[in-house]
């Protein structure tokens, strides 16, 4: 399993990279961490004519806080770096919690946040988490720069709003709301595998225990991360009790329309999706009641 021939560039500066991407357009594939792309290239399932290796671009992995308290992460930031960063754990615990779910540590040593997002595997964690958090992506080309909301970015199986010639350079997350109950959990055949079904959720609870601003995004359930709007509508403005949780399972299972593959049937994903959301919410509520620990 050896790669088919290609032309290779490893630009050192961003303008050079964007230049190459414009010149080669659809013939070019961007190589970041390589953990998703290289298997395809080795298997000859992907045969790009040109590879633009962005690993040598400087300052594309910076982490910073914006003036509005939002978190900005360079696309080339390695998953392992984010996983081990106490700064990220403080600034965005959900993002930090999603990292160990991705593959194995050897993969995270090379894998990048940008790479995972642009690859857009529907069973991956980061796309769903970024939709849940209301993330925004900076896409640059030679002649333009635009901001695309995560919710608009993922179009379908391995398909995103990223156009030929564009490079994802930065991911922005709104300021984290520390009082929210949250959870990110998944069911997988083996530890580190892609999810059979997964969920990222959060909810704000007012003093009366009534939930507001509920957001539920599931992954592994279709071509892209899926907002469970009916599930959210069920919970908003209500106090969460056992009966409501059971109802939530049912509503989510109904709303889901997943695919079958060799690892799980559509029926499995539907039923277990409903179960998983209920358990995720229970776990989120339990965590929210605990005193903050390090």
């Amino acid at each position: 399993m050896k790669p088919a021939p290609f032309e290779y560039f490893a630009p050192l500066e961003l303008p050079e990279a964007l230049d190459l991407l414009e010149r080669y357009g659809e013939e070019a594939k961007i190589l970041a961490g390589g953990q998703s792309l290289m298997p395809l290239i080795n298997l000859r399932l992907a045969r790009p004519r040109v590879i633009v290796d962005i690993n040598r671009l400087r300052n594309l992995d910076a982490i910073s806080i914006a003036t509005d308290g939002g978190l900005t992460i360079g696309a080339l930031a390695r998953q392992r770096t984010l996983e081990r960063s106490t700064f990220i754990q403080e600034q965005n615990p959900m993002l930090a919690a999603a990292m160990p779910l991705i593959g194995h540590f050897q993969i995270r040593n090379r894998g990048t946040i940008g790479g995972s997002l642009v690859h857009a595997d529907p069973a991956a964690e980061l796309p769903a988490v970024s939709v849940l958090l209301g993330g925004e992506f900076v896409l640059r080309s030679k002649s333009s720069a635009r901001l695309v909301a995560a919710a608009d970015f993922f179009l379908g199986y391995l398909a995103t709003a990223c156009r030929p010639g564009e490079l994802l350079t930065e991911v922005r997350f709104p300021r984290w709301r520390p009082d929210d109950a949250w959870a990110v959990v998944e069911i997988a055949r083996r530890k580190g595998d892609f999810a059979l079904v997964g969920v990222a959720l959060r909810a704000a609870l007012d003093d009366g225990g009534i939930s507001q601003n509920v957001r539920i995004v599931m992954f592994g359930v279709g071509g892209k991360p899926q907002r469970m709007e009916q599930g959210e509508a069920l919970l908003n403005g209500r106090r969460i009790d056992e009966a409501l949780l059971r109802e939530l399972s049912r509503v989510v299972a109904e709303e889901l329309d997943p695919d079958s593959d060799v690892h799980a049937s559509a029926a499995y994903r539907k039923e277990v999706g409903g179960v998983l959301v209920r358990r995720a919410l229970q776990s989120a509520l339990a965590k929210a009641k605990e005193p903050v620990s390090q």
């Binding site: 290609f6 290779y8 298997p39 690993n55 194995h104």
Partner: protein, 165 residues
């Protein structure tokens, strides 16, 4: 045929300059150009971990990298663990615990373990089990590998001087 590039890498403390096809994987480069055949190919798609090496101190799957990406980097393969005739504590422990049978996956486990123990020098059994879950073995059932890594971690803690890895 792919274009070629001249790259300079340091592997196991020695510097090499080679002209390589840009599409050559780092694993093939190590095995064929550098003649370091201790690193093995088990799947070539990043699942089995047999090709694990250290690049700039981090454990990576060399089958998922191109040789040209390693230009200027410091690589360490299984051949770097022993110091002359003196085995590394991990190697000794693998032998003590019968942590290998056919030996094909072993270099990958040794490199994964050496990176892991740098990060987590006093792991619990469950942490070791977790850390090696990205490496596949078909012979041993993993148990003796976990035993060996724990034994090595004790020994490494005891030693005042750590061999450079």
């Amino acid at each position: 045929m792919s274009a070629k590039q001249l790259i300079k890498v340091t592997a196991n403390g020695r510097t090499y300059e080679r002209l390589v096809e840009v599409r050559m994987t780092l694993a093939d480069f190590i095995r064929q150009e550098l003649d370091l055949t201790g690193t093995h190919l088990g799947c070539e798609h990043g699942v089995c971990g047999a090709c694990t090496i250290l690049m700039n101190g981090e454990a990576v799957r060399s089958c998922l990298m191109l040789a040209v990406q390693a230009g200027g980097a410091e690589l360490r393969t299984v051949e770097s663990l022993a110091q002359g005739d003196e085995l590394h504590p991990l190697q000794r422990a693998f032998q003590n615990r019968h942590a290998l049978q056919c030996g094909f996956c072993t270099p990958g486990f040794l490199m994964t373990a050496s990176a892991f123990l740098k990060d987590n020098p006093m792991p619990t059994r469950e942490e070791v089990r977790d850390a090696i879950s990205g490496n596949i073995c078909r012979c041993t059932g993993y148990q003796p590998i976990i035993d060996a890594i724990l034994e090595a971690s004790s020994e490494l803690q005891r030693k005042t001087k750590e061999p450079p890895v």
